[in-house]
């Protein structure tokens, strides 16, 4: 199940595990990324907590936990090469996987059509 947030994050949800990243719209706004800081495995976040930080050439941006949960794994590839996020934001540019506290909360998030309408 694919869901989206107001802050331009996408979640690919499989049971109670969500893979989280940022959308192509977000990467276009941010420009070239030069630095990514990701959470450690085991970190616990409430919905809306700052979970990751991005730096483009000119400015910093926060990425928020889209739902409450615990980080299982972060994507080291994008730490080593932030440009992957720009070139493939919805595939190899994923940020982290988290175990959702309450998968049902995902129902309140936008689906792809609603997100596309929001950014149109």
């Amino acid at each position: 199940m694919l869901k989206f947030t107001d802050d331009h994050e996408w979640l690919e949800i499989d049971g109670d595990i969500a893979t989280v990243g940022i959308t192509a719209h977000a990467t276009e706004q941010l420009g070239d990324l030069v630095f990514v800081e990701l959470p450690e495995a085991g970190a616990v976040f409430a919905q809306g907590d700052v979970a990751a930080t991005l730096e483009s050439v000119k400015a910093a941006s926060d990425v928020y936990a889209p739902l409450a949960g615990e980080i299982i794994k972060s994507n080291d590839d994008i730490v080593n090469d932030p440009s992957i996020v720009n070139s493939d934001p919805t595939g190899t540019g994923w940020f982290f996987k988290m175990k959702l506290l309450d998968p049902a909360e995902a129902d309140d998030l936008m689906d792809e059509d609603a997100y596309n309408e929001m950014v149109a």
Partner: protein, 383 residues
């Protein structure tokens, strides 16, 4: 992240329509709607400029002429020396020099370029300061000088290792120009004032062109395969890699030229024991610091890690210290350096190259070191 929407009061340069046609993402800067970047993005535009050639619209900057009422240029030069700690009288015809407007406290009002054009002086000043600079000059120089703002002229910068070849294809005589030479050249049919200088650390030219010929010239330059339009985003990362100051960030009325590590711009003639020592605002403080040193200095900074450290970040001597000892005034990621870089002010005791410092970023103390500038080796056409 939202892009600010320009309102009807934001000013436009003569190249505004061209920027939009080229797909620029615009941003307000000093009251003008300017290109921040084009389709390639800041990183690619920066690297392109260092590899080949980039064209920048800097028409928002101020161009001013000082003409001596007496008809003798030396009178205008001597008058301008009332306002800058620089040897203007000794500047040869067809040459340009970096200068600073200082205030009574020894702080800096603006940084600028001064050119000797034979029968007048030609000044280029920062966009954000141009109204204040004009008023400052009128208040102090009107007895000796006619002061004219050249609002009918645009300004573009062509920078990069291919800039020389590109300009020579439009005006072969430009090939003879050396760094800081200034000449009249006809480019794409327009009467231009051209200096071999810039703000990128690369060889290049700054070209003053009449407003109604600016777009034609810009198109003629971009038509060259090696030339790409470049936005203000890359302009900032280029100048920071080159160790060049941005007025308002690295220089302001609280920084003296000595603190700002710009003593090279103050020629011996204007220093104590020089033929025309002092005689500019703040001379007592500045000449004192030239002899005794300043209490703090602008230095280059290199973070140990990959995280950029931005302007406004506080600096600490020890990782656990409570009180900051300095501040970062400009910071970004350097695309050619492939690392973050910054400049800031630290006490003289911490200003030596290699000094270990800490920056507070997102609640953590990140290690960095004082580093020499420029961060990337310049390629000025000196000889």
């Amino acid at each position: 992240m939202t892009d600010p929407t320009p309102d009807t009061e934001v000013l436009k340069t003569p190249l505004h329509a061209l920027h939009l046609e080229l797909g620029a993402r615009m941003t307000p800067f000093a009251g003008y709607d300017m290109p921040l970047q084009y389709a390639p993005g800041i990183l690619k535009e920066h690297l392109h400029t260092r590899a080949r050639a980039g064209l920048f619209d800097v028409s928002h900057m101020g161009q001013v002429i000082l003409r001596p009422k007496s008809g003798t240029l030396a009178d205008a030069a001597m008058a301008l020396e009332r306002l800058v700690p620089v040897d203007v009288l000794g500047l040869p015809v067809g040459r340009q020099r970096y200068a600073l407007f200082t205030d009574e406290a020894g702080g800096i009002l603006d940084d600028l370029m001064i050119t000797n054009r034979g029968d007048h002086l030609f000044l280029v000043v920062n966009a954000a300061c141009k109204d204040a600079d004009e008023a400052h000059m009128r208040a102090h120089l009107s007895d000796v000088c006619e002061i004219e703002r050249l609002d009918g002229r645009a300004l573009v910068a062509l920078q990069g290792p291919q800039a020389g070849a590109v300009l020579a294809s439009l005006a072969p005589e430009s090939a003879a120009m050396r760094f800081m030479d200034v000449r009249n050249l006809t480019l794409a049919g327009a009467d231009c004032i051209v200096s071999r200088s810039g703000y990128s650390g690369e060889d290049g030219f700054e070209i003053s062109v009449p407003n109604d010929q600016a777009e034609k010239l810009a198109r003629a330059l971009i038509a060259h395969e090696t030339v790409e339009p470049i936005g203000l985003g890359a302009r900032d990362s280029l100048r920071l890699e080159a160790g060049l100051c941005l007025y308002g960030n690295d220089l302001d009325t609280t920084t003296t030229p000595v603190e700002a590590s710009l003593t090279w711009a103050i020629q011996k003639t204007r220093r104590t024991s020089g033929a025309r020592a002092g005689g500019f605002p703040g001379a007592k403080r500045i000449l004192g610091e030239l002899i005794n040193g300043a209490s703090r200095y602008r230095v280059g900074l290199r973070p140990d890690g990959r995280a950029p450290i931005r302007g406004g970040t506080e600096l600490f001597a020890g990782e656990g210290d409570t009180d900051p000892i300095g501040v970062v005034t400009s910071g970004a990621f350097g695309p050619s350096l492939d690392a973050p870089m910054a400049m800031g002010y630290v006490p003289s005791a911490q200003a030596a190259t290699g000094t270990r410092l800490f920056a507070e970023v997102r609640g953590r103390r990140l290690p960095l070191r004082v580093a020499d500038m420029p961060f990337v080796k310049p390629n000025y056409k000196r000889a």
